[in-house]
Symmetry: C2
């Protein structure tokens, strides 16, 4: 590279405040962690996407899009997916770290 900034990795990109603001970065990390827990919960239950689709009412392609972060779910969709997995969503105070 011939300029001063490393943008070779996703991590570099995310940490470049000129491109991704701190708040935006937090939002992205929030979504990644949220989806991660969703996938984890499904797999821990030994459910396939199709299995979860059946019991949740959310279709398999939609679940795949969510898990692959191709779409940002609406809270009712997230609820429908999480509920049969034994989870729900809560508003909690921002614990600054």
């Amino acid at each position: 590279m011939d300029d001063g900034k490393n943008i070779d990795t996703f991590s570099d990109y995310m940490n470049d405040e000129a491109r991704v603001s701190p708040v935006e970065r937090e939002r992205i990390n929030f979504e990644i962690s949220l989806i991660g827990k969703m996938v984890e919960a499904r797999e821990q239950k030994g459910l396939s996407q199709r299995g979860l689709a059946e019991i949740s009412g959310v279709k398999q392609p939609a679940i795949a899009r969510l898990e692959g972060m191709k779409a940002t779910p609406q809270i009712d969709t997230l609820f429908k997916v999480l509920h049969p997995l034994g989870y729900t969503i809560e508003i909690v105070p921002l614990s600054n770290k």
Copy 2:
């Protein structure tokens, strides 16, 4: 009324399993409580919808629609609104009451 069911109040309606399934009822209650906390947090901060719109980036009509439950937010919108209020969202195990 001439049939056996009371559907005079919203509460009666919600508790009629023939109309609203238990899961659906849970989802509705979940959303009501979620939105309730959102409004509470905003008012506790002494913010108007317009004020919150400015610092969150979500427009005032959108906030009004959410608070009035005319729309089901996407999780990124909810995050954007909650964050400047000092809150975030978390996935938590279903504590069966």
